[in-house]
Chain length 353, copies 2
DNA sequence: CTTGGCACTCCACTCCAGCGAGTGCTAATA
DNA sequence: TATTAGCACTCGCTGGAGTGGAGTGCCAAG
């Protein structure tokens, strides 16, 4: 991929100084000046020299200053360079991993998968002091286990679907006429015989097929079964969802102290819609992905970075998890945490299914 | 109930002026001065006279000023007096009610009761520009309709409960040994025969009884049924929950513009725990209840008021709903809205069950 | 009891000076 | 040629002084 004009590789010295500057800025959020950098860079260079280097880095698009007489702050490009090539990650200690695993499972005593998702989300937000987000797992291939119908008042029927051996979905269907209990029972029996153990997508397809092919030549019982089944499976995909935790952590950051900005951000969280879109993109990728500032494409997140990783059940990617924080988050700490949490969550979900 | 010292009834003039002052303060949040009040009170009184009255009201605890040369603001006591005796509510127009009803049901196309709750919550927040809150309905008497067990891997069993003809609860039970599919089927049959149509609380009691009485003299099948049943019903009450909407509206109010306060408030919302406690209290009451400032007993809500009303299904109180906003909210508008929304929600839930 | 008058208080705003931090540039140096 | 010291300059921040306005409390007259 062609870089933008003027983005030649940095010299080793430039790289080192950029790294130190980013680290310092991440620590306290204050613009870093030449004097400070010269003292803490480890290189024996005077502030004047540092200033020359900084001026170069600014020309290259890595730094900018809020005003003439302040120090310099990293741009998005600098963070990008930082995470891509400059920073080195300490792989977490085994005992640290173990402690994470325990916390993850402690927080999810309710044995549902949803409890684990919530636990993962608050675990992420708790240890990073950022906002944690985890999408609810969603398998492409859902195995239908059992169907049950119960009549309600009017023309309505409560349908219960057991899927993937552990999830239960239920919906109220409103039908064109009232069905008797025995009709419903035989319909359920028929559908179970035909479709139990099959993939939901397949089931949907075949139902449409059957209904098409045999419109009215059918046995009465089968016909009602098909009618019911069609309604049941015709629903739009159950919408995806995610669990957010520790949003309030974001209030601490000066970058977001403007109440108006905060408000819009929190509204977006509540809406979920826009945000899901962003998370969806990351499902196709592999490993930890990082969106710095504007890279996310949402102007609400201009001052934020998003670090995500997909997680898997049975080697199938079923969701993603991550954190949201200010661009000046502690990447070297956050990235390994997101990575390991994704793996732990996948493993925990596996062991429960 | 004895009033606090010095709280004699107000004269008509004092009452009127207090009312106007509160109204003005609610409108723009600025302390109200004697000049303004004299112009807009409708009484032909000079600012000097108004000042005398205001000084009296201050002595009585209804007013206070932030500093010498500012106007005066109502105290909690003044709001209390305002809502109790001063304000008169315009009963909402029939067409207004109808529009509310339509909005409530539009927002709840997913036919579950939860969808209605969510819709009510965002309806409340939408039209009041405050935070809306609705607890999920919870009946004291839950009618058990059907039980089903499905074996999972290991010693675990997925149990499905249909309750009140429309709600489905499911839990994963972890048992002392593996049960075969036929064992589970007969257990379910047994429990259904015995308990279908009965109240859950009764079921729980009787299960314990049976288990106690007939420990090991029992038929094998019944014994496993009882074991399963006991685990199933032994769980603590499913925790109550509420749905919050439009929290971000609260960010607009100057009273809460302090980010630190906001943060603690939002954290409390996310925790839910403390907050549920407050809502629980209101379940016993009747009609609209109002907590002004410190009356709620939560110091986080010192600058807030909470207006709530219980709602009913089949004349049984099953939950409450309301709004949270700054103490200077437009009570005369908000109170009727909360009242009518509670009635509409109850009605809507009824028609779907 | 009401009112006009008056002195007083306090906040909010503006203006200004002084400071400290940091820069860019230039000229000297290794 | 790369580095450094020196220096003038810029800019934001802080604190104090000054001003205007809003509102009060009190008093004495109607």
């Amino acid at each position: 991929m062609a870089r933008k004009p003027g983005k030649k590789d940095l010299t080793e010295r430039q790289g080192h100084l950029l790294k130190v500057l980013v680290e310092r800025y991440i620590e306290d959020g204050q613009p870093v000046g030449s004097r400070r950098l010269s003292e803490e860079s480890g290189l024996k260079l005077s502030p004047a020299t540092i200033r020359n280097v900084m001026a170069d880095l600014e020309k290259l698009g890595y730094l900018h200053s809020p005003h003439t007489s302040a120090g310099r702050m990293p741009t998005g490009q600098a963070y990008r360079m930082f995470v891509d090539t400059l920073v080195k990650f300490n792989p977490p200690e085994p005992e640290e991993i173990d402690s994470l695993r325990r916390k993850l499972e402690e927080g999810a005593e309710g044995s549902g998968g949803k409890a684990l998702v919530r636990s993962a989300s608050s675990l992420l937000s708790g240890i990073t002091h950022l906002a944690g987000v985890v999408t609810v797992p969603r398998r492409n291939h859902s195995n239908l286990r059992q169907i049950e119908f119960l009549p309600l008042s009017g023309n309505r029927v409560l349908s219960i679907l057991v899927v993937n051996n552990r999830e239960v979905q239920n919906r109220v269907l409103t039908l064109d006429r009232a069905y008797t209990e025995s009709e419903l029972r035989s319909a359920a029996n028929y559908l179970n015989e035909q479709f139990a153990g099959r993939d939901i997508a397949q089931v949907r397809e075949q139902l449409l097929d059957d209904l098409q092919r045999a419109r009215d030549s059918m046995h009465n019982m089968m016909s009602s079964a098909l009618t019911l089944g069609r309604q049941l499976f015709d629903r739009k995909e159950q919408q995806e969802d995610f669990v957010l935790a520790g949003e309030t952590n974001l209030m601490d950051f000066a970058e977001l102290s403007d109440v108006e900005k905060l408000r819009r951000l929190f509204e977006a969280f509540a809406e979920k819609r826009d945000f899901l879109h962003l998370l969806d993109h990351t499902l196709s990728g592999e490993g930890v992905q990082i969106f710095i500032g504007e890279e996310s494409g949402y102007d609400l997140l201009d001052a934020c970075s998003v670090v995500t990783s997909p997680y898997t059940i049975d080697d199938e990617v079923v969701g993603m998890l991550g954190v949201i924080g200010p661009t000046r988050m502690a990447y070297q700490r956050v990235i390994p945490i997101v990575d390991i949490t994704a793996k732990l969550l996948g493993r925990a979900l596996n062991s429960r299914s």
